[in-house]
């Protein structure tokens, strides 16, 4: 694996008033790595990923993405990253096709590439019969597939995914997993917050477990396994590490 660092976080802190959502965390993610970010509800996962994508400002600490400072160079970073939020809210009165075209335009994807890729995406995610319907009529899973299609259209160097598989049917979930694995092999870095431990175990190169805003563990699955019991699956490892910590 290439040892170029894609994401570097140093002593990151995020406060909401008196409440400290993220408490002095540091880690890095290498290029082409699938990095699973795990933790219970309210652990600080979404806050962290929002800081990494420039949606939230850090209270202190340094965050760099692709060697650029997020606070300073976010406008340059944004064209090279893609984000799939935990709630796939997209403009309800646009059609799926119009949404994809807008993504193509704002990310300056060449028209020829859009003409080729948009129908391919719709077919791959089984949205081809619904592309001219307004998004308001879509289910959660369909919206999720549309947002993922939008991110894939502009082929970012880093993909930030916050619970990307929630709401997807088993076929789509399998498809998305395969796509992520293929993208990572081709050098795309994937930062994924998830509750689906099975996916984290099978897909990720390294796993970071966060709780109460603090990193409790960060290692490969095999090394985390050794900390508990060599036969344990990720669920047992996760429960063991997070037990009694808040």
């Amino acid at each position: 694996m290439d040892e170029v660092i894609s994401i570097e976080v140093k002593n990151l802190v995020k406060k909401y008033g008196d409440f400290e959502a993220v408490k002095d965390i540091s880690f890095d993610v290498k290029k082409g790595e699938i990095f699973a970010f795990l933790g219970p509800n309210g652990a600080g996962k979404t806050t962290t990923v929002k800081i990494l994508t420039g949606l939230l400002k850090p209270s202190s600490g340094e965050v760099s993405v692709l060697g650029m400072n997020v606070s300073r160079d976010i406008d340059k970073i944004k064209s090279k990253i893609g984000f799939v939020p935990d709630q796939p809210y997209v403009y309800p009165y646009l059609t799926a096709f119009e949404y994809m075209r807008m993504i193509g335009d704002v990310y300056k994807v060449p028209v020829e590439k859009q003409q080729k890729m948009i129908p391919e995406m719709f077919e791959m995610f089984e949205l081809d019969g619904r592309s001219s319907e307004i998004i308001d009529s879509f289910s959660h899973g369909m919206k999720q597939k549309l947002v993922i299609s939008g991110v894939l259209l502009h082929a970012p160097e880093i993909m930030f995914l916050d619970e990307p598989l929630v709401g997807l049917d088993p076929r789509s979930a399998k498809l998305v997993k395969d796509i992520f694995a293929k993208l990572a092999r081709n050098g795309t870095t994937i930062f994924m917050c998830t509750h689906v431990l099975d996916i984290a175990q099978k897909l990720s190169d390294r796993i970071c477990i966060i709780n109460g805003g603090k990193i409790l563990a960060l290692d490969t699955f095999e090394n985390l396994q050794k900390r508990v019991d060599s036969q344990s699956d990720l669920e047992s490892v996760y429960l063991d590490i997070t037990e009694g910590v808040s």
């Binding site: 929002k50 420039g54 949606l55 400002k57 059609t95 807008m102 993504i103 001219s132």
Partner: protein
């Protein structure tokens, strides 16, 4: 059902006790504004009724006619509010799934929701009705019983209106697909409201102040004495109120009986409808025909124009916005009609009215901006993740919002000022300076609406009017009024000089430049504050 009311009470109590200092301040501010509004309604009603009552022969009849029209408007407003409130509370309430899963009778849940809708739809109407009734009582010299009884009688009156609105929602829910209902209701509501404004303006006000349309005085008096919508509870309430003022017990009892029976009948009808249709209306499985837009093309667009196109599509496809457009269209229509009816016979009138017209057009611009451009930032709400992760600078996104918001405000205002100036035969130099000033003033108003919308956004809302009536909306209006006053004060001098016969082209140009500079300075300041707030939004 009492248990459900207890939950509502506890929720309200907890909400009040958990208010932070800033929210306390906001609540105090709104209460202050509310009290002032009530006092203004009282003062205006008292002046109007006292003046009208003193008119020889027709005075007392005119007072009664105005009162019955006021009650008719209150009835329609309560019914309309109930349509909207009952729909969002009964069929789309966030607590509905929880309530239906509890071991409670469906009928009780429905009744609880109906009474809730009655409360929320009528309290504000009652708050407006009370100062009017007090003014009426003072003018008529009514005793203490008037105050007590008019309040008691208001309950069946407003209940009838509210139950009528709720019944309308229940029937609509039965026959239309649920996914389309919200849109249908909002548009129906807006049409209802628009029709109310236009009809009241175009018919009654002209008739009430003039006897020209009547061949004989007796015909005019008989028109004034005739009931206003005599089969509606608003007329029964008016009858009871007139009976109270005249201390006519028989009349009071008769109309109170009619009101009570009417409310009971509506309640029984509503329960009947609920038994037949309520559960059907809740059915998620109703056929839903999704909207299809066939056009698919691959034209090249810049990021900026792509966002602009997105905003236009979202705006025109959202029927929540259509209702706003209908309301604006009614305001414009009523304004144009009013100006058309006015006649100016003296130079002094021309002088005054050209400035008053300017101010009124700018007020219309404020109303348009409040409805169309102020909510733009708040409406992005949950989609900020998209806006702030795309590779488009925030400055560009904010500018696009201002450009999109300004278009409708400026077009409406410029057309309005030009048409009304033409109708009033305003002289060319004054015509030119007022239209030119309008371009800059309305651009500033539109920019301020988006900027203040970014400074004080309201992301938790269930309908667009909630965004408009937020603290930000209020501050925008105050700012806008300030801008209007400043600009009118500047314009006064050249217009006055023109009508005084001291017209000088150089002077007009100087004043115009002054207006441009003042507005551009304000614009730069409010844009800068708004943009900084926009950059800081964290969602």
């Amino acid at each position: 059902m009492l248990y459900l009311f207890k939950i509502s009470f506890l929720s309200l109590k907890n909400k009040i006790s958990s208010l932070k200092f800033s929210e306390d301040l906001k609540a105090a501010f709104f209460i202050f504004i509310g009290i002032n509004l009530v006092l203004i309604i009282y003062a205006a009603s008292y002046s109007l009724l006292k003046y009208v009552n003193s008119v020889a022969v027709a005075g007392p009849l005119l007072v009664n006619k105005i009162t019955s029209l006021f009650f008719l408007a209150a009835f329609m407003m309560t019914a309309l509010s109930s349509v909207i409130v009952s729909f969002s509370s009964i069929y789309f309430g966030k607590d509905l799934k929880l309530l239906l899963s509890l071991p409670l009778k469906t009928g009780d849940i429905f009744s609880f929701k109906v009474l809730n809708a009655f409360f929320y739809a009528s309290w504000m109407v009652l708050a407006g009705l009370m100062p009017f009734l007090i003014a009426f009582a003072v003018v008529k010299g009514a005793g203490i019983w008037f105050y007590v009884c008019s309040l008691v009688f208001a309950v069946p009156f407003l209940a009838s209106a509210s139950f009528t609105g709720t019944a309308f929602s229940v029937v609509i829910m039965k026959f239309f697909p649920k996914a389309k209902i919200r849109n249908i209701i909002f548009v129906t509501g807006a049409v209802f409201f628009t029709a109310l404004i236009v009809v009241l303006r175009l018919t009654y006000s002209e008739k009430l102040i003039s006897t020209e349309g009547f061949a004989l005085l007796s015909q005019y008096l008989s028109y004034l004495d005739s009931p206003t919508a005599k089969f509606l509870p608003s007329w029964w309430y008016a009858g009871a109120i007139f009976g109270l003022a005249a201390e006519n017990l028989g009349k009071v009892l008769f109309y109170f009986f009619m009101l009570s029976v009417g409310a009971a009948f509506m309640w029984a009808g509503l329960k009947f409808l609920a038994k037949k249709y309520f559960v059907d209306g809740l059915d998620e499985g109703q056929a839903f025909a999704p909207s299809r837009i066939k056009k698919e093309n691959y034209g090249v667009s810049s990021a900026f124009s792509s966002l602009l196109k997105k905003d236009m599509k979202v705006f025109f496809r959202d029927s929540g916005q259509w209702s706003q457009v209908l309301i604006i269209a009614s305001i414009v229509l009523v304004y144009l009609f009013s100006m058309y009816k006015l006649s100016f016979e003296t130079i002094k009138m021309h002088n005054t009215m050209s400035l008053v017209n300017c101010a009124l057009v700018w007020f219309v611009a404020t109303a348009v901006a409040l409805r169309l451009s102020f909510p733009l930032i708040s409406l992005e709400g949950d989609s900020f993740w998209f806006l702030f992760t795309i590779p488009v600078k925030k400055f560009k996104i904010f500018t696009e919002k201002i450009l999109f918001g300004s278009f409708s405000v400026c077009v409406v205002s410029i057309v309005l000022i030009a048409v009304t100036n033409y109708m009033m035969s305003i002289s060319y130099p004054v015509f030119l300076i007022t239209v030119s000033a309008t371009v800059f003033v309305t651009a500033l108003i539109a920019c301020a609406s988006v900027s203040i919308g970014a400074i004080l956004p309201k992301f938790n809302y269930s309908s667009i009017p909630q965004i408009e009536s937020s603290l930000g909306g209020l501050i925008f209006m105050l700012f806008s009024f300030f801008v209007i006053i400043v600009n009118i004060l500047i314009l006064m001098q050249p217009v006055r000089l023109f009508y005084a016969g001291s017209y000088s082209q150089i002077l007009f140009v100087k004043y115009f430049i002054f207006i441009v500079l003042v507005n551009l300075c304000f614009l730069a300041v409010i844009f800068s504050i708004g943009y900084n707030a926009f950059k800081r939004i964290e969602k």
